[in-house]
């Protein structure tokens, strides 16, 4: 990459990081209690929450891994994007109202808190907290790693700013920790707002650039790819029908189990805000996903029609190669800021729910008295989790990336039945909840760690989620329902 391009890109990223830190300082003045730190005092507006929901859903994977997957497998990975319209519908229909009602009734400061109240069981809440912590550490490690590696690559091309990789880890963790510790979830959602806007703008500009790069625009790309391999441009791509359908299943239902996304549904000022949040979140995600689709198709087309010269060494280079060779440096700067935005918006939410699990949910699950100065401990826990995830990312190498892939599935398997179904179904009881979480996670870990391939590449997470849903439903049917607290019982009737 030429030095001036790297300089411009670095400039955009620097400005963006400074904005994030400024938001952290501003939010610190509004964070006075644990409820403010974890739940933003339940004062968030409709637009802020909508943008926070979609920007948390689209992580760095969407900006780096997504285009790479399109380059690798054609349209197969579109099934990870197009599921969001039905996925967000399921999330808002099942949880939009319900979680917000629980939030006002019992004032939980975290998702496991709400689970404990629903099932009247600290153990179930604790189990949820453990699943969250497990997912957070691995998923966060991957986000920090992605952020550090991208920063390292950009800085390498600027002689005066070249920085060793380990310092890039330190810088990445430091920026994340700074605004998360100072402003808690308030800083997180307001930076999500900035991040969401950057992602949408970047995605639209990238779509226009890709259309100008290949003769004939999108149809031109489709024709080039079809001439080489018709299947890559047909709806199932190269992975085939069953693999794509299993992506559709785990992604569409799984979004209801992403704690960093659904927790935000509890933070709105007015219950009725969910009405307009659904269309805004779907539209925002749909626009941001244009980047995923357009860069992947464009890079596959330019490599196939020999415009690009050499094929990519690694599919994940699709986004960076496109920005280096085909995008205006200012656009590349905006997109790299968008990439950092996507990574950071997911990472800060993880830090927040992770620290809640550590200082609030797990002590409660073990029957300990609430910590004195919980807010201070929450800030310390945020630093500890970031440092832990950063060290894990730095020292565990490829292992972290492997575990990171598990993140979405772990959350989906553990949380979809007990929250999405359980919060709407009175008959669901704690035996069903505990059994389904343990068996689902055990099944997925078994399949994943032993690398068992299911026929037609049926996604292991999708299979495990089907198992966990079935167990949850069947166990709840054959075991007696728990007696619910009067207020919970009444709210579940609404």
């Amino acid at each position: 990459m030429e030095e001036y391009r790297s300089g411009i890109i670095f400039g955009f990223i620097l400005v963006y990081m400074l904005i994030c830190m400024a938001v952290g300082l501003w939010a610190m003045r509004r964070t006075r209690s644990t409820k403010d730190f974890f739940m933003a005092g339940r004062h968030l507006g409709m637009i802020v929450t909508s943008v926070a929901v979609f920007s948390s859903t689209m992580s760095g994977f969407g900006f780096v891994g997504g285009p790479g997957l399109v380059y690798l497998a054609g349209t197969s990975s579109f099934w990870m994007v197009i599921n969001m319209s039905i996925g967000m519908c399921i999330m808002f229909f099942l949880l939009g109202k319900r979680l917000r009602l629980f939030a006002e009734l019992r004032e939980p400061v975290s998702l496991p808190d709400a689970v404990s109240a629903r099932y009247n069981s600290r153990f179930t809440g604790g189990l949820t907290a453990v699943a969250i912590l497990l997912g957070v550490i691995t998923y966060l490690g991957v986000q920090i790693k992605a952020m550090s590696v991208v920063l390292f690559q950009i800085l390498q091309d600027i002689p005066w700013a070249s920085t060793p990789l380990q310092w890039c880890y330190v810088i990445s963790c430091a920026v994340l920790v700074f605004y998360c510790v100072t402003g808690g979830i308030i800083a997180s959602v307001y930076t999500d707002l900035i991040q969401g806007v950057i992602m949408v703008v970047a995605a639209v500009l990238v779509l226009l650039t890709t259309m100008a790069t290949v003769d004939g625009g999108l149809q031109g790309m489709a024709e080039v790819i079809t001439r080489d391999d018709p299947e890559a441009m047909q709806p199932w791509g190269t992975f085939g029908m069953i693999s794509c359908l299993s992506f559709y299943f785990i992604m569409a239902l799984g979004v209801c189990g992403q704690p960093h996304v659904i927790t935000k549904l509890m933070m709105t000022k007015n219950i009725s805000d969910t009405r307009h949040m659904l269309p805004m979140s779907v539209a925002g995600y749909g626009l941001a996903a244009l980047l995923w689709i357009s860069i992947g198709l464009c890079m596959r087309a330019v490599v196939l029609n020999a415009t690009h010269g050499t094929p990519l060494l690694n599919a994940d280079q699709a986004a960076s190669e496109f920005l280096t060779y085909y995008a205006h440096p200012v656009l590349a700067g905006v997109v790299f800021a968008g990439l950092f935005a996507a990574i950071m918006s997911t990472a800060d939410s993880f830090l927040n729910i992770g620290s809640a699990a550590l200082v609030h949910d797990l002590p409660q699950a073990f029957g300990m008295t609430p910590l004195k100065h919980e807010l201070r401990w929450a800030r310390i826990a945020t630093v500890a989790i970031a440092v832990g995830a950063g060290l894990l990312a730095y020292y565990a190498g490829e292992m972290v990336a492997m575990l990171g892939v598990m993140g979405w599935s772990i959350f989906a398997i553990a949380i979809v039945p007990i929250v999405a179904i359980g919060f709407n179904w009175k008959r669901a009881n704690r035996i069903a909840a505990n059994t389904s979480v343990i068996s689902g996670l055990a099944c997925y870990a078994g399949l994943y760690l032993t690398d068992i391939r299911l026929p037609y590449d049926f996604h292991q997470g999708a299979f495990s989620m089907l198992i966990t849903l079935t167990i949850f439903f069947m166990v709840a049917l054959v075991t007696p329902a728990n007696r619910l607290d009067k207020d919970i019982d009444a709210v579940m009737d609404l």
Binding site: I82, S85, L105, L218, D229
Partner: protein, 202 residues
């Protein structure tokens, strides 16, 4: 009887999954490295960089029916969940028929779009290199965008339009306020009760 629809849908999904698992899986059913080796594994790369699908008919012929069943039963499961949470005791009975008819219509279009996508894709096997285009993409791919992403937007519209009727009616909101009020009162009473269970003040 109350749970019969859920049991049926779950059974259908499992039937489809097991049918797929027991079907013959041809070689390269889930893609193969790009025919030209430099595209698949350029020198210095750590893995396959680009894959090809090959012959769509050959790799899908054993799962045409179970695949269709899997897709339809998954859509049925998603839609059943949406239907399930739209039942509320405070809903306006006059608009109930209208609402449910619209919901059913969206479901039918959703399932119809999926079936159309599958059949259009199968028709493309006859002339794979010269597919018909709908917009910028081959017809089946455009149907995927319009059907699998576009049609569920119908549920988004219904959510917005019928929010005060099916999701959170005003009466339910009022009842909720009373529940919160009663819970707060109960908490306050508990706090003012002495350890022997007698209230300090009435």
């Amino acid at each position: 009887m109350k749970y019969l629809p859920a049991i049926i849908v779950l059974a259908l999904v499992w039937t489809a999954v097991l049918w797929v698992f027991l079907s013959f899986e041809p070689m390269e059913a889930t893609g193969r490295p790009h025919a030209e080796v430099t595209f698949a594994t350029p020198q210095g790369s750590t893995g396959v960089a680009m894959m090809q699908g090959g012959d769509g008919g050959l790799r899908h012929e054993h799962i045409v029916v179970p695949g269709l069943l899997l897709g339809c039963s998954m859509i049925a499961m998603f839609c059943m969940m949406l239907f399930w949470v739209c039942r509320t005791k405070h809903a306006d009975p006059d608009s109930a028929g209208y609402f449910w008819n619209l919901m059913v219509m969206v479901v039918l279009v959703y399932v119809g779009a999926f079936i159309l996508l599958c059949t259009t894709y199968q028709m493309s096997w006859l002339e794979p290199t010269e597919p018909d285009y709908l917009g910028p993409f081959p017809m089946a791919t455009s149907l995927m965008f319009l059907g699998m992403y576009g049609v569920p937007l119908g549920f988004v519209v219904l959510y917005v339009l019928f929010f005060e009727d099916r999701i959170l009616p005003q009466a339910a909101l009022k009842e909720f306020r009373e529940i919160v009020q009663a819970a707060k009162l109960a908490d306050a009473t508990e706090l003012t009760t002495d350890p022997h269970g007698k209230q300090e003040a009435s």
